[in-house]
């Protein structure tokens, strides 16, 4: 299954690179602009469940790596397809996959909020969890958590009971 899948993906998408470590994972590296097409292709191939969308900050490369994990209820359930796409940290964006998997909506909102990645075509990129504005999105590796706590929470004085 994973061998045929690899061949199929590489034949359809010239710029995709597929790795099959052989432990039930099929990792697909694609450019950011072809993510919706690849995810749509995988759904056609029977991967009908978007398990999660995640993100990794790569400050050394100046990029964010957005990770889509797909599994299947109809194919071999032990097989997972991991689609990875990289976008620039500043001003980078990639197309939304809500059209293919509607359950991507909160994941993309969360990644937009916590990492600062932009999803083009997402109609509702408003804050999901956070109540405050952050100068740097808080899940990025250059976000100094302790300094932020000192400035924000520790600077609030205790209540003095006269």
């Amino acid at each position: 299954m994973s061998g045929a899948l690899k061949k199929g993906i590489e034949a359809t998408f010239r710029d995709a690179r597929v790795e099959t470590p052989g432990d039930g994972r099929v990792t697909v590296f694609v450019p950011a602009e072809s993510v919706p097409a690849v995810v749509h292709y995988l759904k056609e191939r029977g991967f009908d469940h978007l398990t999660m969308v995640s993100c990794v900050d790569r400050p050394d490369d100046g990029e964010l790596e957005v990770v889509y994990i797909l599994s299947s209820y109809t194919n071999d359930p032990r097989l997972h397809v991991i689609v990875k796409a990289r976008v620039p940290r500043e001003g980078g964006g990639l197309g939304t996959v809500i059209g293919v998997f509607p359950n991507a909506e909160p994941y993309e909102r969360e990644i937009h909020e916590l990492f600062g990645a932009n999803f083009e075509g997402h109609g509702r990129l408003i804050p999901l969890f956070l109540e405050r504005e952050y100068a740097i999105p808080p899940f990025r590796k250059d976000f100094d958590s302790r300094k932020y706590v000192e400035e924000t929470f520790d600077s609030i004085p205790a209540v003095q009971d006269e």
Partner: protein
Amino acid sequence: MDRNQISKWLKAPAKMAHKYSLHAVYFCTGCGIIEIPPVITARWDAERFGVIPVATPRQGNLFMITGYVSVKTLKAIIRTYEQMPDPKYTVGFGSCPINGGMYWDSYNTAKHVDKYIPIDGWIAGCMPRPEAVFIGVTHLWTLIDKGMANGYARYRKNYAQYRRNQEMLFGELGWPPLYPIEDGAPGGDE
């Protein structure tokens, strides 16, 4: 009724009534709520101590904050607290409401809940055993007896400071002050 307490009942009936009818609002933040079902059900049976969960904050007088307090949750905690009728007692349950606990350097967790609402007692631990809740309740009885569980009075008295702290964290709060803030009060107009 315990005969030894008859004199107490005659001296301060209201206090005794408050002591033995603690209607608890369990604010289920974080992991602390996992200890609450055994506390209120047959295994430990909090009703022996007069503690019973209520449906809405407007019926309760004991407010238990069980677990870490994220900034968004804190807003709900303040609103819940302000809805409860006086006299009300607040207990922070677990390490996280005390000083942040394991979330001491988290970007979105309010570390000291007592900066925003008054707290009458703490139950330390991560997590505290259900027995600790009952030790906390008996301590609260002592505090009520001595008139030291006066968080609701302190909230009214120092409301300017509490409101200032809440606004420092949230910016605009979106609801009017619960009590009038006089000009020149500490933190009133800054």
